[in-house]
């Protein structure tokens, strides 16, 4: 079967399975990724089928996981590493920033680091502290890393294929609260480039840029806005480094208004980068300043408050209204 309706988690699982099957150098590493299949079951069944030598339960030490993945990559392997939750990546931050990101340049291109770091990220699952964060900007700021996040099962499948084939380190942010959302995956399709944005909905009055878990929120906001006679275009960014500014620019030159939506805190977030660059590129097209909707400059709140903290349909529409009022 080439076209299936799959949840995002299962699409990633199928993609990892295909990679393990087709390239003997691909390894899966992480905490509980073996028998358990990961706490989100994304690697479910892979160790059973490919063995403990390919799907490796690691000691509980994130720096060790990424550091040894670097060593394995230097030996010619293509490790796909799982960090169990977004808030647990920081012990590995040193290895990612000082070693993984810079080693190719340090070696003047003579060695390559094809390492994928999977991070289930974002809120909305009622979790305890450190299980709901969106640290993508902390990685996008670092040269040498590529940062992507899918919002559909098809993208989850194909972007994982492409990330594993990339000769650069890729941080693969998985929208954990969308893991169970189903959509169609064509496993024989020819995918577009990994870092190209996708117009998820066409519209005429305003552009919403989002990625990962916020794409669904924006689609819902656009449906609600349509009832009020407003036509919103949605760009699913897919890649936070590099960013496909051409697709955003094309959209904004048409709609003349832009709102960027992400779960991560607004301050120094990817919305700031997009606002600055689109303002430069589209200064004479814009009818309103670029607005941003995202998390606040506070620690991610306790679960009972996360619906207030996370951008929802109403917060997005509030920003849409403010933009249209200019």
């Amino acid at each position: 079967m080439t076209v299936q309706k799959l949840p995002i988690a299962k699409a990633i699982n199928e993609s990892l399975r295909k990679a393990l099957d087709t390239d003997p150098k691909v390894l899966i590493m992480g905490e509980d990724v073996g028998k358990l299949g990961g706490v989100f079951r994304v690697t479910d069944g892979l160790q059973k089928d490919f063995g403990e030598g390919r799907v490796i339960d690691t000691p509980l030490a994130e720096s060790g996981i990424v550091g040894t993945a670097i060593g394995l990559a230097l030996r010619g392997y293509r490790p796909v590493v799982e960090i169990q939750f977004d808030g647990f990546v920081f012990p590995a931050y040193d290895q990612i920033v000082t070693q993984l990101a810079k080693m190719h340049a340090r070696a003047l291109g003579k060695i390559k680091l094809p390492v994928v770091i999977r991070i289930p990220y974002g809120g909305g699952i009622g979790a305890v502290e450190h299980h709901s964060e969106s640290p993508e900007a902390l990685f996008a700021h670092v040269a040498g890393l590529k940062i992507v996040s899918p919002s559909t099962a098809s993208d989850a499948y194909w972007m994982m294929q492409q990330a594993i084939q990339t000769d650069d380190p890729v941080i693969f942010f998985e929208p954990k609260r969308r893991y169970w959302d189903k959509s169609e995956v064509n496993t024989e399709a020819i995918p577009g480039p990994l870092h190209r944005a996708r117009v998820a909905r066409e519209g005429a009055d305003l552009t919403l840029v989002a990625y990962g878990p916020m794409v669904k929120v924006c689609l819902e906001a656009a449906a609600a806005a349509e009832e009020e006679g407003k036509s919103l275009e949605i760009v699913d960014l897919r890649s936070m480094s590099p960013i496909d500014f051409e697709t955003i620019q094309t959209s904004v030159e048409k709609t003349r208004r832009l709102v960027v939506v992400h779960e991560a805190p607004v301050f120094y977030g990817s919305g700031a980068e997009i606002a600055a660059r689109i303002t430069e590129r589209c200064f004479y097209h814009l009818e309103a300043p670029v607005l941003r909707v995202g998390g606040y400059h506070s620690p991610y709140p306790p679960a009972r408050l996360e619906d207030e903290y996370l951008p929802g349909l109403d917060r997005v529409l509030d920003a849409v209204d403010r933009s249209l009022a200019y």
């Binding site: 030598g53 550091g67 060593g71 030996r75 480094s241 590099p242 496909d244």
Partner: protein
């Protein structure tokens, strides 16, 4: 092989006993030093060890001596070049020649080395041209050699990080079914890093063929070893389930024998070993450091008597294994090396400014392409300053096209 000793913490060597708050809470000092594998005494006399034997030909012994002398000469030249402003910084290995040459000569060609930034002697053993080590200290690159040409990874500056890379590489060696071994160098200061602890855990759990070679040179910039540990460092291995051994780091024969044994153990699939080479950093941490602020001259003088090169020379002379012609020829070779290094460094050109954008990614990145093109256009805008130079810069950047936002033309050439 078993852990050499399970002795409790010794009395720290530099702390005054009277400063201890409570003798009851402090492990009782041991009356004897922990065992130290030694095959050549500071006086240059061969001594036997029950677990480690070595039998080298006169030529091999002269070879080790030559390695140490040339490494020290190169190191002295680099220090001088820093003082002359040719290098921005130098991290001298003075005093650690035996630890590095002994361990370095224990390696096979197919073994892989993960060094710190001070392993100039190991680099020498691996056949890395000494002048290649100086690029990063001059500031023309961050590491100018191909790691896979000599199985010698780039110098790692962040303390301890490379021990995990070595462990991962060794895990890969085991997966490949190869009988190569991997060696990770680090120091007494690095022993406090979490990455080193994690590398011990990972290598033990996966039984990785890696040797952890710790040069305990007694000082981490200004902090003595007792600021890092309450037990002799080699004893840390026991807690992870693999052997640890302390070797006289100024004894090239012992360092060779112990490292060789640890590498063979790794090849046999018996897992990691921690070697603590007990040595001394005779110089400053780097040329930016001033040891007179924190350590006494007497300590350095005591270690001078244990000099690694002097003791092997005494042995060679006593046993008639090298004649005056050998030493004279080596002096000449040293001076030739110094001159070659000096000339090579002075001739080392500054990199092309466009090199900022090279090798950031293996598969390209549109932002790098955009910024490269912008920078080239900016450089080319200085038309009146030096037309010839500007033309060259413009040509270098032209492939991306001034102002081009997503050009990939320049990048293709970088792959």
């Amino acid at each position: 092989m078993t852990v050499e000793s399970t002795a409790a913490a010794r009395k720290p060597r530099r702390s005054s006993g009277t400063k201890r708050a409570s003798a009851k809470r402090t492990p009782q000092p041991q009356s004897s030093e922990p065992p130290l594998v030694q095959l050549l005494s500071p006086e240059g006399e061969r001594v036997e060890h029950p677990d480690y034997q070595i039998d080298l030909t006169a030529e091999e012994l002269r070879g080790l001596y030559r390695d140490m002398v040339l490494t020290r000469r190169f190191d002295a030249e680099a220090t001088a070049l820093q003082r002359q402003g040719e290098l921005g910084l130098w991290a001298s290995l003075l005093g650690q020649e035996a630890a590095q040459i002994g361990s370095g000569r224990a390696l096979r060609d197919d073994d892989y080395v993960f060094p710190t930034y001070r392993e100039h002697g190991v680099a020498w053993c691996r056949g890395v041209d000494p002048t290649n080590l100086l690029g990063m200290f001059r500031g023309v690159n961050h590491g100018g050699w191909d790691p896979n040409s000599n199985n010698f990874h780039l110098y790692t500056i962040v303390i301890g990080s490379q021990t995990l890379h070595a462990t991962g590489y060794a895990m890969g060696v085991a997966k490949d079914g190869a009988d190569s071994a991997v060696i990770a160098y680090f120091g007494d200061g690095a022993s406090s890093q979490g990455d080193v602890a994690e590398s011990f855990t990972f290598s033990a759990v996966y039984n990785a063929p890696v040797v952890f070679f710790c040069q305990n040179n007694q000082w981490a910039i200004s902090e003595p070893t007792e600021k890092q540990t309450r037990v002799p460092l080699y004893q840390r291995a026991q807690g992870y389930g693999f052997p640890g051994v302390r070797v006289d780091g100024n004894d090239v024969l012992a360092c060779l024998a112990v490292t060789r044994s640890a590498l063979e153990r790794a090849r046999r699939g018996e897992g990691p070993t921690l070697v603590e080479a007990f040595t001394y950093r005779m110089g400053a941490h780097t040329t930016s450091d001033d040891p007179t602020k924190y350590r006494a001259d007497e300590e350095r003088e005591a270690w001078e008597a244990k000099d690694p090169i002097l003791r092997l020379r005494r042995y060679l002379e006593r046993e008639g294994l090298a004649d005056e012609a050998f030493f004279t020829a080596l002096d000449e070779e040293s001076e030739t090396l110094g001159k070659r290094v000096r000339e090579a460094v002075r001739a080392m050109p500054d990199p092309d400014p466009m090199a900022i954008f090279d090798h950031v990614y293996a598969d390209g990145h549109t932002l790098v392409d955009e910024e490269r093109a912008q920078f080239a256009a900016y450089q080319a805008s200085f038309v009146d300053a030096d037309p010839a130079a500007d033309a060259a810069i413009a040509a270098a950047g032209a492939a991306g096209g001034p102002g081009a936002s997503g050009g990939t033309g320049v990048h293709e050439g970088d792959r």
